[in-house]
Symmetry: D2
Subunit: 434 residues, 4 copies
């Protein structure tokens, strides 16, 4: 046992606390008919919080943890236990992990798999003890140099096969740990230069790989969702899973749009030029919403900064879209967030998560109130009310023709008059809640 | 007749000319088995060159043309003739137009249509005289305030009907003038704020509208392609036709992926975070490549600058993708470019196009040579050669399973070793051609 | 009189109101020893609210106001009165204007000046009646085509002279109306292409022009501040007054750093790649803080969107820097904001400003509380406490040398150990206030 | 000796070569009165080419070099020799290095210094043998965790002292090796969050530190230039040496504008929102141009990609500004470029540099021809010719007043008429050369 978090008592809800506490997150408070904890379904990301050493492209390790460099099974086991100690401090409902985060890679596929299973033994025990669930598992197919040119889209078919073995091992472990979802993030599924890339072939290989995963999931009876996590670039110049719309087109092309859903990250949405709420609303409209990574980017840094959320009005708009779509089913709120590399202390890690929990709780409550009050939705319905008229509906029905609609428009002498979009009034309305 | 271009003699190919001439564009030179003119299929954009008065968000008209403000049919006719005088100067193979560019709007749908037909009479005569063809026609569904909240995606169904009538009129005229394509650019199909927007309904309306257009095209026997032009934003904050991948997903969702192709603009690609060649390669991979707008953006201005192309190496990479895909069929190279607003003179308009023709000609020739020499493609094929092996192909076939591939990978003790991606060497190779 | 706002009663502070009201802005509430109104010093921008017709680069006028097109003195007078009617509705403490916003340009410099003076007569009367003050006046040196290549930096010296006459007229009127400041925004002081630009000469001309203005200000006894408003680009590709740091370097180069201060806009800060609070903090550190334009940009639109502020936490951080620097003296909070072009109604204009007043009031109160509680500043002081030690101070004094410090560092065996930057804890702290 | 480059013969100029060669770079060709080698003054960057292991934020080492991990003096010595073997292959005129690139850090300041001197012994020998000069030396004040919160701007004064010792050691070595310049890049002189930052104090400390360095340089008789390298962000969110204009303002504020010049990087210019030629032209106009880092960024990746230059037209515009300013004196063309991490082979490293040499040679020759032909400059002079008239000059002289100029403008009835800026014609002109 590392004892690393021993000095920090488990946090409780205390709006007036001065020290470490939840000031807004009260797990048992009911929000839209569910416990707040069940609406939010928070998860801690193993990699950033327990694997990342604080490096950036211009500097090395800043964090000193007793389990670093975690290159032996002993250190990996110490880390696994420290992580659960941390989950207890936070009363975290869920966690997420990659294989690479939790075990040192073995000398062979088989040894790597065995080591993963051994760590999973610890997870199983500690999950039972703490009540922490697994929101999702995933395979790291981007860190090792063998993946430098892609995983399923690698020009070398051996890498494709290697990835199949790795994903199978991770999906097996996720299934064993009752994971709610399994995620694929294609961090190197893309290219650095088009000059050496066969775009068509790579897309086909990626589609094929995903089908294999879906078939296997059914075969083993994994009930969780398979989730793709879009990101437009970084590490590669171009990544195939660019954004929600791109992934949806990809899924349709390979007949997987009813099998796979999306894990949407705020930071990735922003890198792709979208607001987070846009990606959420679009995923809902397309029927592929799955889960979220609630970590923000700095709008003015051109790379993925993976910061903890801290802007309540933005977070409220995100949860508004989620609640409007019915809320999470298998999904949840993962913090794929890392401390700033200058935040060296154990207390920083706890405080960062606690602050994020509070920001999300405030956002959720505002969103719920706004949805229950129905003012925003009433305004939206009123704006589209014309489409409820029979003549309008008829234009959308089979049988209508361009020439028929055109003739009627001319005959009626149509001269449509615009009405106010009321944007500022709606923004004011939102500001009453946040 | 305006006589506006009378002082400028038609341009010819003269590599050593000091004044206005084509220094690289020789229409009759053979490139990969076709006349250069037939490979490039240049088109002049009516709106920027004859409709735009030089304004920007912070200043008004700078250009003084005898046909401005073009708010009467007399002025519009003068303009139509001036445009064809200009096409003669450039020996332009094609032009493109919106209804709004060529006729003042009438008091009713019917009057607007009649005016469009009257201008089309002039076009027909002058096309016959000059040999200039129509690359594409389109409807302007974004300038008038009635379209401020969208065209087919407007919350008001009257606008949907109004658009149907307008597109019908424009498609009829395009058909009459033997247009090679018909384009839809959804400049206001999107939103300013999600707060007042029903994303799902708007997408459905847009899909429905496109189906109506496709059905009508077949009904009247229009043989040209229907093209969608992607753009991510501007004027609206978010536009539904974001980029090639997004539009492809949209087309699949409404069963139109075999009916509609794409008109891809360099500047729009850049606004969406892509290189132009990426969008072209992707459209080819997805089977939806149609035509291009070869106007660049300033990489460092966050809005659409619509400048004439001037960087030969970049243009060469674009034509490389186009030639690799088999070259243009109905499509061509449109310059949706505008003069900088300080470029006041008739000579600026001619020189800008002549320079663009030359840049494209140089790019095309470099691309063709690079493709014929096959060095780049040979390197690409070598990189993926592993996928020609039977065991590799088998992973992509029906019957392969994740667990089967995994078992084989473990059994073989796979440990794939990366090989150089050779990016800099390939970039050096390209630099031998440009 | 237009009567345009007759239907809307003057707004009052009413936190529970459902209709138009101030929900947070209570002008008389005391904040850090001053009335809230005196801390915030709100101003309405004449141009966006009364001059802009709703156009964007892809569409024309959407707003219908009785004074449009305002191309006669009669219409201009109607507009001037309507503006003051609006100020009454809002109880706006200040307004701001350009010459071009308020009077149609005359046929000569003299006529333009006379017209400006005639409108100023109306302003004078209505200012007395309503109590609205003039926060700043300015000259529009960018809309007319004569300014297309710059104002003071124009290659044509006649334009320089023309600008001198124009600025003199505007400064005279600002002085007469007891303006608190006079602003220069160099919207076309920059270039579209370096190829035709003499950067060195243009900077010298701009420096010279500013000196002439400063000398004139003293001559006429204008007590307000001369303010430069930085913006990095748009309309031009590059603007010389890029950001706070750039303008400060420029002022020093021409010996004007004690004569001129800055008007800092949130949207312009963002376009330059900075946070608003950065620009404010830097201006305070450099001693050149003057006033603000509190209109936000959309982080994901690459152009200036000039939206009303709506994010309280962001606004709070801005006022925190302002209060920390001592608050406004001659400056204030101008809303260089425009309605979205779909917001057609008079009520939209009122509601947008009322919402902005409330957002600023909430931000100010949070900032004041945070400053008074001193927790953030205490943490900051603690972080730098080492610099209070004598040996540390000595390194900053005359007499210290690199080699001396180096020798001492080696002798002491210095091995500095990093401490946590506590970023997330500080962000949590801020979130307790907003 | 590593023998790592033994298989690659030194490159020579051979325009028709198919293998590794210079196809455009002929060191002895005369360009504007100097050998091409003396105009371009190429330098290889030690860190990227010999220190970087191929990692990125999502993956680890990809390069396998015999000297990695270079954590002993033996390996460091092997590396030093391998680097010079490489310089011989390239016939590189110069190289550049940080202390951190060339020696493993010692247990104390003194040991680190001694190790640096020992590596410098090897450098000295091999420089004599190969004729390779030192373009510049510099200290790495950003990689070690002690610098995580800044170097000279660190809140901890011990770090300031530590940096003084480190820079002294590096400047001493640079002096001993006859370095042409000494560079300071403030990679962590900035902040991650304003919330914990005392902007004013940090700027003062940075100014003080620079003064100490300048004084020491004079004391030891170092004749090279002290250069600051601007960069706007990355690694930190905000860096104080944002761009040329910002650094110039900083230098003025601390009275150092005649003591310090700038090392300008293409990639950093782009991150700051500028074109490279803008930063060069501005540095020339302000009299602070020093040297360049000729490594490009990907315009569409938001981080520093440090790629080898490959676009001749862009490079030509950069050298045009440099030649117009008189060419390099102490400065040169450094390639702060790294291979893409998939470019694993020794040959990639050679080819990347050779390709860059060729691109620069082509750019330089085009620039020189363009300057010698004087067409571009003639057009520029003509545009500003009005400023040669006495009345125009008088406006810039002491004694002119705003009111005097205004009165004269009104009296003359000035109505300045714009003339074409001819941007497209100038772009066409440039395209004749590149």
């Amino acid at each position: 046992m590392s004892g690393y978090f021993d000095a920090i008592a488990p946090l409780s809800y205390d709006p007036d606390a001065d020290g470490l506490a939840f000031r807004a997150y009260d797990p048992d408070e009911m929000v839209m008919g569910k416990r707040m904890a069940d609406q939010l379904r928070f998860a801690v990301a193993f990699w950033h919080s327990f694997g990342w050493e604080g490096g950036d492209p211009f500097g090395g390790q800043t964090f000193e943890r007793p389990w670093f460099p975690a290159n032996t099974m002993e250190l990996a086991e110490m880390r696994a236990n420290a992580a659960f100690d941390f989950f207890k401090v936070l009363r975290a409902p869920f966690f997420c992990f990659h294989d690479h985060d939790v075990r040192p890679e073995g000398a062979s596929l088989g040894e790597s798999r065995d080591r993963l299973e051994r760590i999973a033994d610890i997870f199983e025990t500690r999950m039972a003890e703490t009540g922490t669930g697994l929101l999702w598992g995933t395979a790291n197919l981007f860190t090792n140099r063998r993946f430098m040119a892609g995983a399923a889209t690698n020009p070398d078919p051996e890498v494709f096969a290697y990835c199949a073995a790795t994903v199978k091992a991770c999906l097996d472990v996720t299934h064993r740990l009752n994971g709610e979802n399994y995620v694929l993030w294609g961090g190197r599924e893309g290219y650095e230069t088009l000059l050496n890339t066969d775009l068509g072939a790579e897309l086909d290989h990626m589609g094929r790989f995903l089908s294999l995963v879906v078939e296997y999931k059914h075969k083993i009876g994994f009930k969780g969702a398979i989730l793709i996590e879009p990101k437009p670039q970084e590490p590669t110049k171009h990544q195939y899973d660019y954004d929600v719309a791109t992934v949806f087109g990809f899924l349709q092309r390979y007949g997987l749009e009813n099998e796979v859903k999306l894990n949407i990250e705020q930071g990735h949405a922003i890198l792709a030029g979208h607001s987070f709420e846009h990606e959420l609303a679009l995923a809902n409209a397309l029927g592929v919403f799955g889960s979220i990574d609630m970590n923000r980017n700095d709008y003015q840094s051109g790379w993925d900064t993976d910061q903890f959320p801290n802007n309540v009005p933005e977070v409220a708009l995100a949860y508004y879209e989620i609640l409007k779509g019915g809320g999470f089913t298998t999904g949840g709120t993962n913090f794929d967030s890392k401390l700033r590399r200058q935040s060296l202390d154990a207390e920083d890690l706890v405080a960062a998560h606690a602050g994020a929990f509070d920001v999300c709780a405030r956002g959720l409550k505002a969103a719920a109130k706004m949805l229950e009050d129905d003012r925003l939705e009433a305004a939206r319905r009123a704006r589209y009310a014309g489409w409820n008229e029979p003549w309008a509906k008829a234009m959308l029905e089979k049988g209508a023709t361009l020439e028929g609609i055109a003739a009627e428009a001319e005959a009626k002498g149509l001269d449509p008059q615009p009405v106010s979009g009321r944007q500022e009034r709606l923004e004011n309305l939102v500001n009453r809640y946040v």
